[in-house]
């Protein structure tokens, strides 16, 4: 269970406002982050 623990860091490619970028979680320190996983694009819910 991860609640109460440090969020595992990662770096990933991302599509953001028309561009391909790279996001590293630790770079966002000082901001709150909502990390949302979902099964896949073009699904229904």
């Amino acid at each position: 269970m991860l609640v109460g623990k440090k969020a595992p860091n990662f770096t990933a490619k991302a599509f953001h406002k028309g561009k391909i970028t790279s996001i590293t979680l630790e770079d966002l320190k000082g901001k709150w982050v909502v990390l949302c996983f979902y099964p896949g694009d073009f699904t229904f819910v």
Partner: protein, 136 residues
């Protein structure tokens, strides 16, 4: 979300190019201007595995949502199996509650909504919560 100093990141095993096409062909018809937040690609499920939401059998990440505070600590999580979508109102309520707690040290009783009754933990309050707050 920006007003609350919150960055949203979505993650799936799709490629960034699939994200682009999904945004262009469908999402931009549901959200004005398209998706405003970064859509991350987790093609081998490695990020999902770190957070315990990657399902190896189906090869996808299930619907996990993690609320991470400004110090990088996970304050809340919700994990749903695929058929049911999330409730953004509940997420917003949790963000406001945790931020209020970090600012004031106050705690939010069950069912708290913004502007609602909060409690200040103290020795005197132990056993006396009923005088301050009743469930509805």
């Amino acid at each position: 979300m920006q007003k609350l100093n919150v960055e949203v990141l979505s993650v799936s095993v799709d490629s960034v190019f699939t994200h682009k096409i999904w945004n262009e062909t469908e999402l931009s018809k549901m959200v004005d201007g398209g998706i405003p937040y970064p859509m991350l690609s987790d093609q081998n499920g490695s990020i999902g595995s770190l957070y315990g939401v990657y399902n190896e059998e189906s090869g996808v990440n299930i619907r996990g949502r993690f609320l991470i505070d400004a110090d990088g600590i996970i304050q809340a999580a919700e994990i749903l199996s695929p058929p049911v979508g999330r409730n953004p109102k509940e997420l917003l309520r949790q963000i406001k509650a945790y931020q209020h707690h970090q600012k004031t040290g106050e705690v939010m009783p069950s069912g708290w909504e913004e502007g609602g009754k909060t409690l200040k933990p103290s020795t005197a309050l132990a056993g006396n919560v009923w005088k301050e707050w009743q469930p509805k």
